[in-house]
C-alpha cells in the first residue's frame, strides 16, 4: 500500500531560490519526503547558545513540553543553574484571565533580581506561544522600556523551525540590533570600528581563538565572531564588512546581512584539513592576500592536520555512510567524509536545502548519492535497512535501536556540541566517526 502521509515527489531544486549574484552550483536530484519528522525543534539551540553568550538569559514562553525538551536535550549537564528557563503557560494564560504582559513582567522582574549579571534577555517563541499568537516582539519592546537590560525575541518553535534554525533566528535578532548600529563603546578593534570580517555561526571558544590567530597572521586584523561570547558586546559592521559562514544553518542571518550590503564569501565549511584550507583561502582571496604569504601562514597547521588525518581516518576508507536529517551539518559532513576520509555517502537526509549555504559543498560530492529533503522516518528506516551502510549518522532517539539491529551509528548531536572546526580539530572530527567502527571491532562479546 502507498502510505498516504508519504507524498514523495521527485524534483529539481529550485534553481535560484534566493536571488543573489552568487556562483551557480550544479543541480542535483532531491527527493522530497513528507511524513513523521524525527528532528528537534529550534529551542534546542539554546542549549549551546546560553553557554556561548555568558551574559544572556533565554526565556522560552511555552509549555511544560518545551521545558522538558530543553532539559532532556541538555539533560546531561545540570551542574550550574542554567541561563535558560521556560515561562510555562497555564490555563489562566490561555483563557485570557491572566494578562500576558503582566505575567511576563512579573517573571522577568524575578529573573532580574535573581540573576543581576544578565545583560541580554531573549524571549523565545514556542509552538504554543505562536499558535495563540502572543506577540513576543512587542513584549520585548515593552520590557526594554521597563528594564535596563536589553530584551530581544526570536522563534524556536517546532512548527516554524528545526533543530539548528533556532540559532539562525537568534542571530537574526542580534543582527537586527547590530545594523541599527548601537555602538559598543569598546577598545577592542572589532568593536570600536566596523570589523573587516564577520564569521557567522557558533564555534567552540578554542576554535575562535585558533581562527583569529590564523586570520590575523594573514593580515586580517579585525575579525568578529557572531554569536559573540558576550551578547552585550556586539561587533560593528558596515557595507565593507565581509561575511563568511562557519555553520551551515545560519542562512537567514546571512541573507539579512547581505541585504544590508555585506559581501558573502561563499565557500565550503572549515571541516577537515582540506575544508579548512579552502575556507581560509576563500577568505584570503576576498581580502587580496598574497598567496605566498597565505601559504606560509597555513603551512604548519595544514601539514599537522594532514598528517594527523592520515593516521586517524584510515579505518573509514571505502566505508558507506548514511545521514538522517538533523542539524543541517549533513552535507558538509558528507563532503568531509567523502573527500578527506574516502567514505561513500549512500543517502543524505537534510531537514531542508539551503543552496546558498551548502552549494559549494554539493559541488564536491559525487553524483551517486540519494538526497532527501524533509523526512518520513519509517520510510527512511526501511531504506536504511535495505542500504545497510557501515555507519549511520542520526539523532539520539534512533541510535540505540539501530545499534540493536546491527547498524553502527554516530549521534549527530555531538557535531554541534564539540569543537570540530579547523586544522587542529580535523583529526578529532574524523575520530568521532572512527570510534563506533573501532568499538565494534574491539568488542568480543556476542551482540
Amino acid at each position: 500500500m502507498t502510505m498516504p502521509v508519504a507524498s514523495v515527489a521527485k524534483c529539481k531544486t529550485p534553481a535560484a531560490e534566493h536571488k543573489t549574484a552568487e556562483a551557480k552550483h550544479k543541480t542535483i536530484d532531491i527527493v522530497q519526503e513528507r511524513g513523521q519528522r524525527e528532528v528537534f525543534c529550534g529551542l534546542t539551540g539554546i542549549v549551546w547558545l546560553h553557554r556561548r553568550m555568558q551574559d544572556a538569559f533565554f526565556l522560552v514562553v511555552g509549555s511544560r513540553t518545551c521545558a522538558h525538551l530543553l532539559q532532556s536535550a541538555a539533560g546531561v549537564m545540570i551542574f550550574a543553574e542554567p541561563r535558560f528557563g521556560t515561562a510555562i503557560l497555564d490555563d489562566r494564560d490561555l483563557s485570557g484571565s491572566a494578562d500576558f504582559n503582566d505575567e511576563l513582567e512579573r517573571i522577568v522582574n524575578d529573573l532580574v533580581v535573581r540573576r543581576p549579571e544578565i545583560k541580554t534577555l531573549f524571549l523565545v517563541g514556542s509552538c504554543p506561544s505562536e499558535v495563540i499568537k502572543l506577540d513576543l516582539e512587542k513584549a520585548a519592546e515593552r520590557l526594554n522600556k521597563i528594564h535596563p537590560l536589553r530584551v530581544l525575541s526570536f522563534s524556536g518553535s517546532g512548527i516554524e523551525t528545526t533543530f539548528t534554525q533556532g540559532e539562525d533566528n537568534c542571530l537574526k535578532a542580534l543582527i537586527a540590533d547590530m545594523v541599527q548600529g548601537s555602538p559598543a563603546g569598546d577598545d577592542d578593534v572589532a568593536f570600536s570600528r566596523p570589523c573587516e570580517l564577520l564569521v557567522l555561526g557558533t564555534v567552540a571558544d578554542v576554535v575562535e581563538d585558533q581562527f583569529t590567530r590564523l586570520l590575523q597572521a594573514m593580515g586580517i586584523n579585525s575579525v568578529a565572531f557572531l554569536p559573540t561570547r558576550s551578547a552585550s558586546r556586539l561587533p560593528l559592521i558596515d557595507q565593507n564588512t565581509k561575511v563568511v559562514l562557519v555553520q551551515p544553518f545560519v542562512g537567514e542571518s546571512l541573507r539579512e546581512l547581505t541585504r544590508h550590503g555585506l559581501q558573502h564569501i561563499q565557500t565550503v565549511f572549515p571541516f577537515g584539513a582540506e575544508g579548512t584550507l579552502r575556507w581560509l583561502k576563500a577568505i584570503a582571496d576576498a581580502f587580496d592576500i598574497d598567496s605566498q604569504h597565505f601559504d606560509r601562514v597555513v603551512e604548519a597547521p595544514l601539514s599537522r592536520a594532514r598528517t594527523a588525518m592520515k593516521k586517524v581516518a584510515e579505518p573509514l576508507q571505502g566505508r558507506r555512510v548514511s545521514f538522517f536529517p538533523d542539524s543541517q551539518l549533513e552535507i558538509p559532513m558528507a563532503r568531509f567524509l567523502y573527500e578527506e576520509c574516502g567514505m561513500q555517502p549512500v543517502e543524505i537526509g537534510v531537514p531542508f536545502f539551503d543552496r546558498q549555504c551548502i552549494g559549494a559543498e554539493l559541488d564536491l560530492l559525487p553524483d551517486n548519492i540519494r538526497f532527501v529533503e524533509g523526512q518520513h522516518v519509517d520510510e527512511q528506516l526501511a531504506r536504511l535497512h535495505q542500504d545497510q551502510p557501515d555507519l549511520t549518522v542520526c539523532g539520539m532517539g534512533l541510535g540505540n535501536p539501530l545499534e540493536a539491529q546491527g547498524l553502527a551509528t554516530k549521534w549527530s548531536i555531538e557535531l554541534v556540541f564539540s569543537p570540530i572546526h579547523g586544522f587542529e580539530q580535523a583529526a578529532d572530527l574524523a575520530a568521532l566517526f572512527v570510534k563506533p567502527l573501532k568499538r565494534r571491532q574491539l568488542l568480543k562479546v556476542p551482540a
Binding site: V5, G35, Q36, C41, R64, I78, I88, D91, F100, P401
Partner: protein, 548 residues
C-alpha cells in the same frame, strides 16, 4: 505563567507514552509538532531501550495549521495501524495540538474501517503533568477493556501488580523481586500492568483476588476503579524496607487467604544484621534529606529512620497528588513536608537543613554534588546510570540489601571518621579530599562571594581540578587567618562574631561536622546574647548541646 528551570515531571503525554511503551503491541498516535519527538530519547537513551517507543507523531508544521492538520492526524492513524498492526491504539495530543482543537479522540473513533480498538486520551496539558498522564492512560485502557465485564464467579488465589512502568524507578527488578516473594508464600501473580502487559493481561485483571498498588503515582486511579467495579481489595503496603516487606507479605496472605507464618519467620535480608553490626554504629543519627515521588519518599523515610537509624531532617515530594500522605509522614518525624515542583526551593531546603545524606532524584544528585553532600538517587526522574546492568531492586528483601549498600556507601566509614577527627592536621586529610569519598565531598564554596570555586566549574571532567583548588585554598586559609571564615568554610552564618582563635579551633573540627558545630555555637551565642564567640564559647556551646 510560571518560571521553570528544571522540572521533575514532563507534560501528561509523556506519562501516557510511558504506559503505552510499557505495554506489548500497543501504539500511540500523538498529534504533536516535530520537536516533541525528543521524547523518544528518554526511552532509548535513559533506559537503553533497544527499539523505538511505539509512538507516531503527526509532526504538523505552521503551514499545515488551519488547513489539514485534522486530515494529517487521520492519515497518521491509518498509516500506523497498517504499519505496526497494534492490538490497541492510543490516540492523543500534546500541548500544542490541544490548542488547535482537532479532537483526535473523536477523529480516530470516527475513522471507518479502522480495525483496532482505539483508546482516546485527553489530558489537560496546561494544568496537569507526567504522572497524571500515566495514571489516566492506564485507567483509560483498563476501563476501555473491562467496562462491560462483570465480577467473575470464581477467582484464582492470586494478585495483580499495578503501577510498574517504563521510566519508573527500578520497576524492571522490583516486579521480579515481588513476584518471587509472592511465590514464596504460594501466591501467583495474575497480571502485571502496565509493564510488559498484553491486552489479554488487562482482560484477566478481574480474575485476581486482590490488586497490589505498587506505585500510586501510576496505579492508584486504576486500583480504585477496579475496587469499585469488581470488588477487588487494594493492598497498599509498598514493600520497600524489611518491615514494610513483612507487612506486605502479611497483607497479601490475608487478602488471598494463605498462611504466611513460616515465610515471615525467616526474612531473607541482611539489612537487619548489617544495621546492628557494630560497624554501623556511626550511622546513628546521620542527617538525611529526602525528596522524591511520594511512593519512594515515604518509603525511604521509614527505612532511613527505622532500619538505618538516621535522622530524617527533610521530607518532600513533587507529587502534589499525594501531598496529603507525604505531609502525614513528615509529621511523624516532627518535620514539615516540602511539597513543590520548584527545584530551587528544594535546594534552599537542603542548604538550610545541612544533611549528611540526600536521597532524591537526579535533580537532587546535582544539587548535592554542588553542595558537596553525599547523595543517592531513589526515584524518578533519573538518568542513565540509575538503570544499572546488575539486578538491583528496591522492593522486597533483596531490595533492602540493595538499599543498605547504596545509601551507606556514599557516607564516611566509622573509624575513618574518627581518624579524621583526631588528626585534623594530617596534610592528606585535606577538606577537599577526605577518605575514599574523594571527589564526592569537595565542599565547593557556597558563599555568595566564593568566587574561588563556582558551581559552573564543577563538571565531571574537572572535579579533581576543583578538589585540588579547594585543597590549596584550604592551605592558604590555614596560614592566613583572615581568610578562614568566608572562603575556606563556605558555610553560611555570622562570621563577624568569631574571634581568630575560635575560628582556628573551628577549622580543626572535621569538615563534615563543622557546619553543625558552627551553627550550634552561633545559636548558643544568640541565645545568651554574646557579642563575640571565643574559644571558650565554642566549648561552652559544645557542652550545652551535647546529648541533644
Amino acid at each position: 505563567m510560571k518560571l521553570a528551570l528544571w522540572t521533575y515531571e514532563g507534560p501528561p503525554h509523556i506519562g501516557a507514552m510511558r504506559v503505552v511503551n510499557s505495554m506489548q503491541n500497543a501504539h500511540y498516535v500523538l498529534h504533536a509538532p516535530q520537536g516533541d519527538t525528543y521524547a523518544d530519547l528518554l526511552f532509548t537513551m535513559i533506559e537503553r531501550q533497544n527499539h523505538r517507543p511505539p509512538v507516531t507523531y503527526t509532526t504538523f508544521q505552521a503551514r499545515d495549521l488551519g488547513s489539514d492538520t485534522a486530515n494529517l492526524f487521520v492519515e497518521s492513524v491509518l498509516d500506523a495501524a497498517e504499519r505496526f498492526k497494534p492490538d490497541v491504539m492510543f490516540v492523543g495530543e500534546s500541548c500544542t495540538a490541544e490548542l488547535i482543537q482537532d479532537q483526535p479522540g473523536s477523529l480516530a473513533l470516527g475513522i471507518e474501517g479502522l480495525d483496532v480498538p482505539v483508546v482516546p486520551l485527553e489530558h489537560p496539558a496546561y494544568s496537569r503533568k507526567e504522572n497524571y498522564g500515566a495514571s489516566e492512560a492506564l485507567y483509560a485502557v483498563v476501563r476501555a477493556v473491562l467496562k462491560d465485564d462483570v465480577i467473575p464467579d470464581q477467582r484464582t488465589p492470586s494478585v495483580n501488580l499495578i503501577g510498574p512502568s517504563s521510566l519508573g524507578f527500578r520497576c524492571r527488578d522490583d516486579i521480579k523481586e515481588v513476584m518471587a516473594l509472592l511465590q514464596s508464600i504460594g501466591v501467583q501473580t495474575n497480571a502485571v500492568v502496565p509493564l510488559n502487559a498484553t491486552l489479554a493481561d488487562i482482560k484477566s485483571l478481574p480474575q485476581a483476588t486482590a490488586n497490589v498498588c505498587l506505585y500510586s503515582e501510576v496505579g492508584r486511579t486504576t486500583c480504585d476503579w477496579l475496587k469499585r467495579q469488581f470488588k477487588q481489595p487494594v493492598i497498599d503496603v509498598v514493600p520497600i524496607g524489611v518491615t514494610a516487606t513483612r507487612e506486605f507479605v502479611k497483607a497479601v496472605a490475608e487478602a488471598v487467604g494463605v498462611d504466611a507464618t513460616a515465610a515471615l519467620q525467616n526474612h531473607a535480608s541482611r539489612l537487619p544484621w548489617y544495621s546492628r553490626s557494630i560497624d554501623s554504629n556511626y550511622l546513628t543519627g546521620k542527617r538525611v534529606f529526602i525528596f522524591a515521588d511520594a511512593t519512594h519518599a515515604i518509603a525511604a523515610a521509614r527505612v532511613a529512620s527505622e532500619e538505618l537509624g538516621f535522622e530524617v531532617v527533610g521530607l518532600g515530594t513533587y507529587s502534589r497528588e499525594f501531598g496529603r500522605e507525604v505531609r502525614a509522614a513528615a509529621e511523624s518525624y516532627g518535620i514539615e513536608a516540602l511539597i513543590t515542583d520548584d527545584y530551587l526551593e528544594v535546594e534552599d531546603a537542603v542548604k538550610s537543613t545541612e544533611p549528611e545524606l540526600v536521597l532524591g532524584t537526579q535533580m537532587e544528585r546535582h544539587m548535592a554534588k554542588r553542595l558537596g553532600i553525599a547523595c543517592c538517587v531513589i526515584s524518578a526522574p533519573f538518568h542513565v546510570e540509575d538503570v544499572p546492568a546488575r539486578y538491583s531492586p528496591q522492593m522486597g528483601y533483596e531490595g533492602a540489601n540493595v538499599i543498605f549498600d547504596s545509601w551507606v556507601h556514599p557516607l564516611m566509614m566509622g573509624l575513618e571518621e574518627h581518624l579524621l577527627g583526631m588528626f585534623t592536621d594530617d596534610f592528606e586529610f585535606s577538606d577537599a579530599a577526605p577518605s575514599h569519598l574523594g571527589s564526592h565531598a569537595s565542599y565547593a564554596s557556597d558563599s555568595p562571594t566564593g568566587d574561588a570555586i563556582t558551581p559552573q566549574q564543577v563538571t565531571p571532567g574537572n572535579i579533581d581540578a576543583v578538589a585540588n583548588a579547594a585543597a590549596s585554598q584550604t592551605n592558604t586559609a590555614q596560614t592566613d587567618t583572615s581568610q578562614i571564615k568566608t572562603e575556606a568554610d563556605g558555610l553560611q552564618g555570622n562570621d563577624s562574631l568569631w574571634t581568630v582563635d575560635a575560628e582556628r579551633e573551628l577549622k580543626k573540627i572535621p569538615f563534615f561536622v563543622r557546619g553543625k558545630a558552627k551553627r550550634n555555637t552561633e545559636r548558643y551565642a544568640g541565645q545568651f546574647g554574646l557579642q563575640t564567640i571565643t574559644l571558650e564559647t565554642l566549648y561552652d556551646a559544645k557542652a550545652h548541646y551535647s546529648g541533644s
